[in-house]
Symmetry: C2
């Protein structure tokens, strides 16, 4: 048997090179050759792991999704309900440099996926992530409600949607203007929002 490399690890490494290229020069620069150069391999080697470009992009987008998922499911449910909720929300918003880079790339993927003639199935990757985030918001709002931290006159569905929109908007703002939207500022806003939901 010949030399054996961890294919998944390799694919991930290439995908990360794609991230760097996209972050630095935008989606338009994400060619097979550029990515290969960024990863430090020949274009032929890259194409061995990803037969075509669409597959590469798909994989790279999916990788972001999986990482977010992993981060979220690693959060522990300890402490007061508002502490837990804040912990989840902070994890979703790109408050450090690494996650901000990830979000920038994600934004590029989303924009690309919005193209109607999506021959590549990027749209199919977008849906589940959006749903996952919504479900998270739903369970958080439900949790608040069950703990009596939600005013009775508020609709759970509506508050789910409002929270979801708020964190997506905040993530966007952090990405676009990191100077103005600092981590502590985000925490203030999230705290104010939760407080405004309390009875």
């Amino acid at each position: 048997m010949p030399k054996i490399v961890d294919h998944d690890a390799r694919r991930e490494e290439i995908a990360r090179a794609l991230w760097r290229v996209v972050r630095r020069d935008g989606m338009r620069a994400a060619s097979v050759r550029t990515i290969a150069a960024e990863a430090g391999w020949s274009a032929g080697a890259v194409r061995y792991y990803f037969p075509d470009q669409a597959g590469l992009i798909s994989f790279a987008m999916d990788l972001v999704a999986r990482r977010v998922e992993t981060r979220i499911s690693a959060i522990r449910n300890e402490g007061s309900i508002t502490d837990i909720v804040l912990r989840y929300l902070e994890e979703v918003i790109p408050l450090d440099e690494e996650r901000r880079a990830e979000f920038d790339v994600w934004l590029s993927f989303v924009a690309q996926a919005q193209a109607e003639s999506g021959a590549d199935g990027l749209r199919e990757l977008l849906g589940p992530v959006q749903k996952g985030l919504r479900d998270l918001c739903h369970s958080l709002v439900t949790g608040l409600s069950e703990s009596g931290a939600l005013r009775e006159d508020l609709s759970i569905d509506l508050e789910t949607e409002r929270l979801h929109a708020l964190i997506d908007g905040l993530a966007m703002h952090v990405s676009i203007q990191p100077d103005r939207t600092t981590a502590t500022r985000v925490r203030e806003i999230l705290g104010a929002h939760l407080k405004s939901l309390q009875p």
Copy 2:
């Protein structure tokens, strides 16, 4: 003197062709030739109005910004304060097909502008729009406050930020999943938000 065409109108027409291309096939397909074909002219003609591609993209992005600005400044300040605020907010969020298309394109521009090595000055166009929207939110919150429609324990700055994030997130949701996030749903959410600010 030779035939005289309205240059600005022509440029706008070409920019609109760019929008259609970007919406249909994404930013990656926005080549001079593709856009020329979409606009129904030769590539040479397009290059007469836009010497280089970066200028074309810049102009097209700026055109979106100017349209949004125009729409906002056309809103009349009549009726109760909450009516006025709702009117502004609804105008900012892409609730009809035309504005949704516009927002999709805008999203692509934003993603592209996020690329660090932005030799094209897309970033410089992004800032003012973001600031404009923030200023709008600020004046709306201030208006609410002055009319006594804002609880006294709320910080104007914080509420400005929260409102801004909320509408950006909502716009995003409308664009990504128009089925779930209908116009009436958006109005419900905005209404609920304003109500939650009241004393």
